[in-house]
Structure formats: C-alpha cells, structure tokens
C-alpha cells in the first residue's frame, strides 16, 4: 500500500478549458522584441559590475517593464509574450542566427514563427550591442580547432547550449510554495549578514547573495504588476462572474509568490510564476515541473480537509496550468528546430513513484494530472509517470487510458532501473528515490542538480564512416588515421578502429561541452534559478559556476541499432562467411549501394578525391573539380555498380538484426552501446561533475541522418538513423515483445542520462479494459527485464497519412516524437515520414 488514499473517478472537463486551448492555437506563434530591448538597455548600464549582479539587474529591468497580459478566461495568469505562444529573444546567448533567418523563420518547415517588421527592427537594433559578448562566441573561442572541425563535419552537435540557455533543471518549487520569495530573500539577507567582508570568498558570495535578493524582488514586483492589472480589469469588467475571478486573481498575485501559499489556488499561481519566470531569465528549455503531484499535495489536502476546495475546481486549475505550459515558447535556429521539432519546451511533469523512504506516494493529484493531460490533449507538459513494483495498478491503467487517446503521453519510467543508476552516479538513496525526469528522459534529483542533460547529439554512425575513410571527411582529416580497411584481417581490428574513432570524437565532444560550460559560467550565471537549487545559497555560487549539489554533463548518443546491425553485418559477412570483402563494402558504401547519390555525397566524394590528388602534387582547379564530379556521378550510375550494391544489400538483409530477440545479436548491441557509454563516464566537467551518457535522439535522428552516409547495415545515405535505443525502423519483425526483449538487453543502468524506447501501436491494441490490462502488462514485463523508459504512439498509419494530406483537419493531432509529444502537422515532412515508418506493432 502507498502512503495516500486516492480517488479514481473521472472528473469532467469544463468548457473554459476548450476555449483556452482554442484561443491559444488560433494563430502562428510570434517573436516579440520587448525582452531583447530591455536586456540590452540594462546591460549597457551595468558594464562595470560583476556578471552575477548584471544578470540580476537585467532580470529585474525586464520584469519591471515587459508588457503583461491576462488572457481571456484565465484563472492562472502570467505570460511571457503578448501573443499566445509567442516568444522573446535572448541575445546574450546568441543572436546572429536569428538575424540571418529573419526572412525565413515564418516559412520554414519546422516550427515557423511570425515576426513583424517592427520587431525585426528593434531586435536588430538591440543585437548590435551583443557582438563579442555572447556565451556562444566565448564558447567558440574556448574550443580547440580540431573540435570546431569535428562540429563543422557533423560528428556531433552541441548546438543546444551553444546557442541557448541551459534550462534542463527542476527547482525547489516546494520552497517557494512554502516561504515565498520574501522568505528566500530573507534567507539571502541573513547569509549576507553572516559573511565576513574579509573572507577570501566574500566578494563572490556577497555579490551572488545580492543578486539573489534583486531577483526575488523582481519576481515579487512582477506578480504585483499582475495584481494591479487584474484589479483594473475587474473594475472594467461588466460580467459579474469574470469580475469575481479577476478579483481573486488580483488577490492571489498580491500574495504569491511573495509569500507562502495558503491555498491550493495560491499554490497553483505561485507555481506558475516560478515556471514562467525561470524561462524568462534564460532561454533554456526542459525547465521541468517535476513531481507536481507531490509538492502541490499538501495544499490540496489541506483545502480538501477544510472543505474549501472541490475536486472539480482543483482539476480545472490544473487544466489551466496544463494549458499555460503550452503558452510558453521558444524560437530556435532552423537546424536546431529540426532537432527539437514541434515547438517543444520539454517541460517534463511526472506523477507517481516513491518518496525518499521508498514508499509509494501516488495520490489524488497523480490521477488528476493524468486527467489534465486527457482534458487538454496538448504536447505540454511532457507528461511522465513513474512505475515500480509498488505502483498501484489502477494508476497504470489510468495512464494507459491516456496513452490510448493517441496523444503520445505519458512516457513510462522504471524506478527499478533509474534509482540504482542514480545511486551509481553518487546520489544518496533518498535523493535517487525522489527523482523526476528532465526534458525527454533524463532523471535527476530536483533542486539539487545541474545535470546539463541534452548536452549534445552524438551520432554513433559518423565514426564508422571514418573507419572506412581513415578519418577523412570531405577531404579533411577529421578523425584518426586508422589502418586502411583493406588491410584488416580480423574483425577485432575493424572494431578497434571504430572504438578508436569513437574515443577521439568523444574527447572532442567533451572539449566542446566544457568550453560551452565555461562560457555559461562566465557570461550567464543565473541568480534567480540558483536561489532555488541547493547548495547555491550556502556556497554563494550560481548553478552555472558549480553551486549545485550534483553536477553532470549528459550528451546523448544515438544510432545504436544501426551500429549494432552494421558491425554485426561486417563481422558476419566479411569475417565469418567471407561473402564480401571490406574493400567491396567500402566501395558499395561510397556509392550508396548504387541506389543514387545525394548532392552532399557527390560533393563530399569530389572534395575527397580532389584532396588526395592535390596531395600527390596535382594542380586542381575549377575545371578539374567539375571533371571529378562528373566522373563520380557517372561511376555511381553504372549498372555493374548498382548490381553489386543490390547483391550486398540482399546479403545484409539475411543477417540477423537487433530488435528480434536474438540473444547473440542483442549482446553485441549491448557491447556496441558501451563504445559510447563507457569512455564517456571517465570525463569531468568544469563544475566538478562527471559525464554520463544518454541514449536518445530527441528528433535529431532525422536531420542528422540526412547528413550521414550509407551504413553497413544497409541503411541508405541521408535516411534517418534509428531513434533512441529502438531497433531500426522496420527491422524488428517479431512483434513488440521481441523488440522489447532485445532493447532490455542493453545496459540501461550505465546510460544514466536516460534511454528512449519507442513503440507504436494501432489503436485497436488498447481497446477495452482487457486491452489496457495487456498493455500495462507489456510495460511491466519490459521493466521487469530492466528497461528504463517506454513511450508509445497509438495512432493508425492511415490517420497519419491522412493528416499529411489534410493538415488543416488535424491541427490538434499530437504524436510522440522522441522524449516528447508534438503537434504532428507542425513537424517537418521528413520527421513525419519517420514517425509513420516506425514499425507498427500489429495484433493477431
């Protein structure tokens, strides 16, 4: 039995929620200029001050002046933009990409944003100040030349934190709910008074604490502005019911988040301001509410016991928050938008699971959180549930009901893997038991961790390409000059060469991430965020400078299935069955198995040949390049080439693949995953923490697959790489249990930054109570075998194809992408195709 009793009864949705959703999605999101203007103004006036103070002052200047709005019928208020789902810009991190994309941002395929001419002008004006002052510029100058080369050649992509704030954190919401920002300010004040001005760290500590005080005041001021606005709107409101609501809103905002919340409603409002303002302080995404059902529960329980809160109203407030989480937005550069497609902010909210003592703490709010996601049917929050051996069955059935709606939520997480995996990384057992998920799939302990999850995309296929080219890419020595494949006599030589290329790229990846890390510490420490993460106040150090109790860096690898299948195919076909030589393999890969070359491939090969000719002392001019290009195209189109390629593809098809419950192939895949996860954990970050691998792709397996040549598993150039730890699309032919058994054979404990396993079901799979029961049993059985995460798309192939044809009729169709859900019609065509092509698990 768990700690709490709970009710399972469904609560109806109010009409207000439908209207809030409709208003939110009425038009294309918009980029606004207010923040860019304000942050620049403030920075200009604080140039000689410590960075932490400058940040706090800028934050305050923004919150005192940014336009505010209360949207129609809202019960919980606070919007970072005037336009629904609008966004602000954050030039202190990077700005050049946006200016370059001003004219295309509204028409691009992934996550378009409207931007007015006026906003363009203002942003351009503000941006002029930022040349040479951003985190991204500092990061670049901190990186080694070979690192920059590797990034340029798409070996890995640290663009997330390179261009943006870090986010990826869960703060101590419970602290704000309990004592308010006045309480935190008092704490900072007391610590400040306790400092001795002659202490060695006085300067750092005192300025940090002063910055915290400024930030707390700013948040309070901002809420007061809303209190005033609500009051004024109430006075002007002729509708009595709305007038009463506005008065209540005004009262709420005048009390919280300044003070501790005294009711569930106040707690909701207080929570919201924290959630919203964290994102206004920096442009990070994946700022995750975490265990909402836990820290909100005391307020709910108290009001329920006092008889002053109905479950229906509590549900409506939660629904309102769920809608609001979709009001926050962020504009990324075009390439990143492809990798994080779907306007997603990855605000992960998790329900269920254990407390620090290991007792199940599923409660009423856990069920109501599921209900809220059913009500709003929107991508945010990225809703997750914790599953363990002690999870109430009814809770999982309710979660499965949400899955059945097809919204791609929730994601299921396995306490039985994640808790020991975190303990292995140095968390106390107590902290590990209280974990929540950040962003897509990344576990951590809230309020104590700077996890730097999502630190880079690492494409595991690229190093294998380097094995065939001895480290050359497009005529440049990017990787290690390993032995020519033609001279390899044993599979171990080939595998070792892959490991060597991997190790080298991992080293460069660490260099890139650490450079960016330092840049954030120097240029964008975040005092507001830091006052809600232990032990920043105690140490007088921001999160960015290493103030958190637990520090990690978690870059995510993807393409395991491709690499497992590739290396297994090479081992089988070349070294065991001797059906093909590595030389033949190399030739077939170079011409994409004779299946046609992409433009990138032709360009790359031309440059490669040109470079080697040059090395041999030949003059290479424009004319020669054109001739090489022509020869490349002609050579790749010869019938003999095509025939050879097809013969090899046929041989590859016969080799067993990962995802079919074949123990020896799966064991091999486990070892291949170690080529990423093991070396990585040996490295340290500038905050004193260690690296830990994740195995998930967000949605980058599609755009980064487009930059990846043909692989020895028969995957053609430019096509998507396998997502997460899932088998390659269409290669798992023995049904969902076989796929799950294979995936469970990977080591999910070592990939403590999270693994991601997608399954797709036809809706008929979950029909009736019986369908739900069997579905839950499937998850349980995968988790029994120590899988870490599972997520589902329950939508028929026909529906998705129809949605591609008639997007206007499917504006609200939400699908699971990777560690998150997104509106299907907002995704790029290639990502849509990738989702459609994932193996659909049918039924007999």
């Amino acid at each position: 039995m768990g700690l709490y009793e709970y009710e399972v009864v469904e609560i109806k949705k109010t009409d207000r929620i439908d209207r809030l959703v409709a208003n939110l999605f009425a038009r294309m999101p918009e980029i606004e200029s207010a923040r860019a203007k304000l942050v620049t103004e403030s920075y200009k006036s604080t140039e000689n001050e410590p960075m932490i103070i400058r940040r706090a002052k800028a934050f305050a200047h923004i919150l005192e002046n940014i336009p505010i709005i209360i949207r129609e019928e809202e019960l919980v208020v606070g919007s970072s933009s005037l336009a629904p789902r609008g966004c602000q810009t954050y030039p202190e991190f990077s700005y050049e990409w946006l200016e370059a994309e001003f004219d295309t941002v509204a028409v691009r395929s992934a996550d378009p944003f409207y931007i007015s001419e006026e906003a363009k002008r203002e942003i351009r004006e503000a941006n002029r100040y930022w040349k040479g002052k951003t985190t991204s510029e500092l990061a670049t100058s901190c990186m080694e030349p070979e690192t920059l080369t590797a990034i340029e050649h798409n070996m890995f992509t640290p663009g997330n934190y390179f261009y943006n704030g870090v986010g990826h954190v869960t703060v101590q919401y419970e602290k704000v709910l309990a004592i308010g920002f006045l309480g935190i300010r008092d704490e900072a004040q007391a610590r400040l008074e306790g400092c001795d001005i002659a202490d060695g760290d006085y300067v750092r500590k005192s300025r940090f604490l002063q910055a915290v005080i400024l930030s707390c005041n700013a948040a309070i001021t901002y809420a007061q502005r809303y209190a005033a606005l609500a009051k004024q709107m109430a006075m002007e409101c002729s509708d009595a019911a709305r007038k009463a609501e506005l008065i209540k809103i005004s009262e709420n905002c005048s009390r919280v988040p300044a003070k501790g919340a005294e009711s569930f409603y106040e707690a909701c409002q207080s929570f919201w301001f924290v959630q919203q303002l964290l994102q206004l302080e920096s442009s990070g995404h994946s700022i995750s509410p975490g265990r909402f059902d836990q820290y909100m529960y005391p307020y709910y329980e108290r009001d329920r016991k006092a008889g002053i809160l109905s479950r229906e109203f509590a549900q409506e407030l939660m629904d309102c928050i769920w809608v609001k989480l979709n009001d926050l937005n962020k504009c990324r550069d075009a390439a990143s938008a492809e990798g994080f497609a779907g306007y997603s902010l990855f605000q992960n909210l998790i329900a269920g699971g254990q407390n620090g003592d290991g007792i199940d703490v599923t409660n009423d709010l856990s069920f109501m959180a599921i209900q809220a996601s059913m009500h709003v049917q929107l991508p945010q929050p990225s809703f997750s549930v914790r599953v363990w051996n002690g999870s109430p069955h009814e809770f999982l059935i309710k979660a499965a009901e949400l899955t059945r709606t097809g919204v791609g939520l929730p994601a299921y997480y396995n306490d039985e893997v994640i808790i020991p995996a975190l303990v292995n990384r140095g968390l106390t057992l107590r902290d590990a038991r209280e974990y929540n998920i950040i962003g897509c799939v990344e576990p951590q302990k809230a309020g104590k961790t700077e996890g730097w999850h999502d630190a880079a995309f690492f494409n595991m296929c690229r190093p294998l390409e380097l094995v065939f080219s001895q480290g050359m890419d497009q005529g440049v020595q990017v990787g290690v000059k390993t032995k020519p494949v033609e001279d390899m006599r044993e599979f171990s030589e080939f595998y070792d060469a892959y490991k060597e290329q991997m190790n080298y790229m991992i080293e460069l990846l660490v260099n890139a991430d650490n450079a960016i890390d330092v840049a954030h510490a120097k240029r964008c420490p975040l005092p507001f965020l830091s006052c809600m993460v232990d032990d920043c106040m105690e140490r007088g150090l921001s999160v960015q400078e290493g103030g958190a109790v637990y520090n990690f860096t978690g870059p995510q690898g993807f393409g395991i299935a491709n690499m497992a299948d590739s290396l297994y195919a090479v081992k089988t076909l070349v070294f065991e069955e001797h059906k093909v030589t590595l030389k033949e393999y190399k030739e077939a890969l170079a011409v994409n198995y004779g299946q046609g070359l992409t433009r990138e491939m032709v360009g790359g090969m031309t440059m490669q040949i040109a470079a080697s000719l040059k090395e041999n002392g030949q003059e290479i001019g424009e004319k020669e390049v054109a001739a090489i290009m022509k020869a490349v195209i002609e050579a790749s189109q010869m019938p003999a080439v095509k025939e050879k390629g097809e013969r090899l593809l046929k041989l590859i098809e016969e080799v067993p693949k990962f995802g079919n419950d074949i123990p020896q192939v799966d064991a091999f895949a486990r070892d291949v995953a170690y080529t990423y996860t093991r070396p990585l954990q040996e490295y340290k970050n500038p905050r004193g923490g260690v690296y830990q691998a994740g195995l998930y792709p967000v949605s980058a397996n599609v755009p980064l697959g487009a930059q990846t040549g043909a692989t020895p598993d028969g995957r053609l150039a430019g096509t998507p790489v396998a997502d997460g730890v899932s088998p390659s699309a269409g290669k798992d032919v023995n049904g969902p249990t076989a796929a799950a058994n294979s995936v469970a054979r990977l080591d999910h404990f070592i990939a403590s930054n999270g693994t991601l396993f997608n399954q797709k079901f036809h809706p008929s799979a979950l029909s009736g109570r019986e369908g739900l029961e069997k579905f839950v049993a499937l998850i349980r059985a995968y988790f029994d075998q120590k899988g870490s995460h599972m997520q589902f798309n329950v939508v028929s192939r026909e529906t998705l194809l129809d949605a591609q044809k008639n997007p206007e009729q499917y504006k609200h169709l939400v699908v699971r992408v990777a560690g998150y859900s997104a509106l299907f019609t907002t995704l790029s065509r290639s990502l849509q195709d990738d989702i459609i092509n994932r193996t659909e698990q049918g039924f007999c």
Binding site: T737, A777, L778, A781, D784, Q841, F843, C844
Partner: protein, 264 residues
C-alpha cells in the same frame, strides 16, 4: 532431457504477442494440417499437412517445418515475462492441433510443467480418446462451433458436426479444463439470428462454459489463396457490420445467459 520434449511435429508459424486468443499476452504456435476445409478459412496454408510453398509479397516462402517440442518451447520461453505479468501463455492453433495428437499433447505438457499457461484453439474433430489424453495438460479449451445444422456444416466445411458436438459435451463434462466457445460469424453461412441462437442454446446446455466469442469474418486470408494458387471462394462475401455483430451478440446473450464477446 525428457523424452516428450523430443517429440516432433510440424508447424507453420509461431506468433508472439497475441492478445486475442486466450488470457493475457500469448504465444501462438500454429500446427499444420486440418481435417476440415472451411470455405472462409483465413489460414489456407494450414490445411495440408504436407510442406508447401506460398508466394508472399512476390517471394516464394516455404510453409511448414518440422520441429521438436523443445525447439518450440525455446521460442515460447522468450516471452515468459509477459505471461507472468498478464496471465498469458501458450496457445496451440492450426490447422487442427488434434491432427498431431502426440505433438500437441507434449507441447501443452511442456508448457504446463514449466509453469506456462496452456490453451488450445480447436474444433475437437478427433476421437475423444485423443482429447482425453490432452486434457490433463490443458488450462483452457477454445472450442470452435460453427453450425448446429449438420448438413450445412458439411456443405461449408466438408464434415458433419456430430463428432464436434459430442466431444464438446464430453469436454465440458470432464471438468478438466476451462472452456470457451468460439463462433466464426460468416455471412451466408451462419450469420442469421436464428443460427447464432441455436449455437448459443447448445453452449448454454454445456456445463461451465466461461464465455461465448463471436468472431466476425474477415478477408485477411484472401491473398494467401492467391499465394497458394487457389481460388478464393468467398470473394463476394462482405464482412459483417459492427451493428450486425452487436445484434447477434445480444441475441446470443439473451439465449444463453453467457458472457458474450465480439472478437477473441
């Protein structure tokens, strides 16, 4: 290894994650060979005991392979975690499993002895002694009854129904296994309210029937006929509508008082 695990038999497929043929998540082993020749049969490749080739997606595929009980159990074992969590297990299907009585019995026995639930989908078209030998190892009999009129039964399946109905009585009275009755609902054959009612009446009189399943006719097997170079005799038949199935379900429920379900 025990001898019975070496018993050989002929199967044509093993299907994991079946959720419509017995409790929980199941693995279905399809045995080759059948006594009946139902016109609507969706597994025509199951009918002949002999190994055949069938064109599937333009490629020749060999249908049927000889395996030992131990080999089959290796595949069945793979999904044990799912049986454990869902109350599922092994289901024998076909064909008619009883055409390979020792193999069927030893498969079920192997499942039972290692704690895996054992079910069988069958028409009970065999001598009762054969069935009797199997019952000790069977948890759940999914018994097909297609028609109460023997002449019509013969016309559409090639055999009379007398043996099936007699065996149904004996199985039910044995009390050795759980029993569900499954009725394929085939337009023009047995989809009238009267015909379904007649089956329901029969089911009602059997002791301890758990559930009555009405399985709507589908055409998913049509391509296989072409693949085998055979004419599909049911081209004109349209699957029953949902409304129709619902109506028949109501009628069956009224008549039998049993829990009645559309689909497996």
């Amino acid at each position: 290894m025990e001898d019975y695990r070496q018993t050989k038999g002929r199967i044509f497929d093993i299907q994991k994650f079946s959720v419509h043929d017995g409790d929980g998540i199941r693995t279905i082993v399809f045995l080759k060979g059948c006594v009946l020749r139902c016109r609507w049969c969706c597994n025509p490749e199951s009918q002949e005991y002999g190994i055949q080739t069938m064109r599937v997606d333009g490629k020749e595929k060999v249908i049927g392979r000889d395996v030992t009980v131990a080999e089959v159990m290796k595949a069945v074992e793979q999904d044990r975690p799912y049986y454990y969590r869902s109350g599922g297990g092994l289901t024998l299907s076909g064909g008619e499993s009883l055409c390979q009585p020792e193999f069927a019995r030893d498969l079920l026995r192997a499942a039972k002895e290692c704690g895996i639930g054992a079910a069988m989908e069958s028409m009970a078209y065999a001598k009762y002694e054969v069935i009797e030998g199997i019952l000790p190892y069977l948890d759940h009999y999914l018994l097909d009854i297609k028609h109460m009129d023997s002449a019509k039964h013969k016309e559409y399946t090639g055999k009379e129904n007398r043996l099936i109905l007699e065996n149904a009585q004996k199985i039910a009275h044995s009390g050795q296994t759980r029993l569900s009755i499954r009725v394929p609902v085939i337009p023009t054959f047995n989809d009238s309210v009267e015909e379904i009612r007649a089956i329901a009446r029969f089911a009602k009189e059997l002791p301890r029937v758990e559930k009555l399943h009405l399985l709507p006719y589908h055409r998913l097997g049509q391509d296989k006929y072409e693949g085998l170079g055979r004419e599909y005799g049911m081209k004109e038949i349209i699957p029953p509508t949902e409304e129709r199935m619902f109506q028949l379900k109501k009628a069956a429920e009224m008549e039998s008082g049993l829990v009645c379900q559309i689909g497996g």
